[in-house]
């Protein structure tokens, strides 16, 4: 499925026209406070915005918000938890993405209070993927991870990109990661979205 923004207008940025084709991974970078997270939030329909946002030609407004957010899944920089135990946050208390993310099956019985920030980030991704999103919006998804786990996340996303034709918009501050992963890389310069070139 493809995601298309037409005259997409949020505070801090000039109106954006952007197409994220299915199976593509586009990375996004820019200085802190430039509006990267705001853009992802608006695409996930968490903040009011102007302009059009289409998923395979279907307008955001024509789809109930919960359905949109399941199809266009956003993983925030700090995933949130509201029950005491990890498994309570997963449908049927199960997940098929634990192993590829280097997490043991028994982690579903763990208490949230004992999780590290890296575990929270990987579990947050596993939980989001259970919704089977068609588009994935990642906000610094590997910021708290060591090299081994970062590699696991990148491999899983790459596999899903190929097998499910998942479109990914990934905010990343790591230039090597952007170079390694992206089909296209965008950068916010002042209030405009520009294509990043590697020199």
């Amino acid at each position: 499925m493809s995601l298309e923004l037409r005259g997409f207008d949020i505070p801090l940025l000039q109106p954006i026209d952007l197409t994220l084709a299915d199976g593509w991974l586009v990375t996004l970078s820019g200085p802190s406070g430039a509006g990267k997270s705001l853009l992802l939030r608006a695409i996930a329909d968490l903040d009011p915005h102007q302009g059009e946002c289409l998923l395979d030609g279907q307008n955001q407004c024509s789809m109930p918000a919960p359905v949109w957010r399941r199809r266009v899944g956003l993983l925030p920089a700090e995933p949130q938890w509201w029950y005491d135990q990890v498994g309570d946050h997963f449908p049927d208390g199960k997940s098929t993405f634990l192993k590829p993310l280097g997490l043991p099956a028994e982690c579903l019985q763990w208490q949230i209070s004992r999780l590290s920030s890296g575990e929270k980030q990987r579990l947050g991704l596993a939980r989001l993927l259970e919704n089977e999103p068609r588009i994935l919006l990642l906000d610094e998804a590997t910021a708290n991870l060591d090299q081994e786990n970062r590699q696991r996340v990148e491999t899983l996303i790459h596999d899903l990109q190929k097998s499910r034709r998942l479109g990914v918009l990934w905010v990343s501050h790591d230039p090597d990661q952007r170079r390694r992963l992206s089909d296209r890389s965008l950068r916010i310069v002042q209030d405009r979205l520009e294509r990043e070139s590697w020199s």
Binding site: D45, P66, V67, R69, W81, W82, L128, N131
Partner: protein, 266 residues
């Protein structure tokens, strides 16, 4: 039984205790001394004035006048609900959500009590309508104020959690469900406690007043039971209505959490 009349000196003894409490609060820097003194002064002035004018009101036989009076009481209570919020809704919503649910709930139960249960004659007899409405209004107001404050403060504090749940495809009702339930519970706890300990630990105020004024204790108990049950129902229905309206108002038509609709009074 002869009624023992209270002198100004008797009230002064009770008032001196509040002065002592305020002084202690000031000494310990608890920050509630001023509010305590203002509230006590308001109690004194408001109840003395009420005592002076109530017999004039009870002599009234115009239902429109009585209706107007009930409306004024409700408007003052709506203002009080808003004043007790740390983060009230902006504009008329700040008064409307608590005020409307409180008025509908208290008014409906007052009509039930006076027309169906007690069968007051004439139907607008102010001697029954006004004290009953006042009791229902006061308690419903407290329940709604506590619950609304809990809801809006928790929504403010737990924004990341609510939005995290929305991001996983939950509806607005699911995303705020736990917070709403907790706020509702906190609004109902005072009346639940009051009912649980009535007659065991505490002698409720109305019954005490009736007994002191010479009513037979059993009659006073029956009226107290009626009032407590009505107050519990009024507080419950009013608070539930307010919670539903307020939580709905916290989200827009696209089920986005809209904390920009709240104001900060602190």
């Amino acid at each position: 039984m002869e009624l023992i009349r209270l002198t100004p000196w008797d009230l002064a003894i009770a008032a001196s205790l509040i002065l002592a409490l305020a002084a202690l609060s000031w000494q310990l820097r608890l920050g509630v001394g001023k509010r305590l003194l203002i509230s006590a002064t308001r109690t004194l002035v408001q109840l003395m004035l009420l005592g002076l004018v109530l017999h004039l009101i009870f002599d009234q036989s115009n239902p429109l006048f009585i209706g107007g009076l009930l409306l004024i009481m409700a408007l003052i209570a709506a203002r009080e609900i808003r004043a007790r919020q740390t983060r009230p809704f902006g504009g008329l919503w700040g008064y409307g959500i608590g005020g409307s649910t409180m008025f509908v709930s208290a008014f409906a139960l007052m009509l039930l009590a006076t027309q169906v249960i007690i069968q007051v004659d004439p139907w607008y007899n102010p001697q029954y309508l006004i004290p009953l409405f006042g009791m229902l209004l006061g308690n419903t107001m407290s329940g709604i104020a506590i619950a609304l404050d809990g809801l809006t403060r928790s929504a403010w504090r737990q924004r990341p959690v609510i939005e995290g749940r929305l991001l996983l495809g939950e509806t607005w009702q699911q995303a705020i469900g736990d917070i709403r339930q907790e706020a509702l519970r906190s609004g109902l706890i005072p009346i639940i406690n009051q009912m649980s300990i009535a007659g065991l630990v505490s002698l409720p105020g109305m019954m005490t007043g009736q007994i002191l004024a010479g009513s037979p204790p059993l009659e006073a108990a029956k009226y107290q039971i009626l009032i407590l049950l009505l107050v519990a129902a009024g507080t419950g229905f009013g608070t539930m209505g307010a919670m539903w309206l307020a939580s709905r108002r916290l989200f827009d038509e696209r089920q986005r959490l809209r904390l920009d609709r709240l104001k900060s009074t602190s």
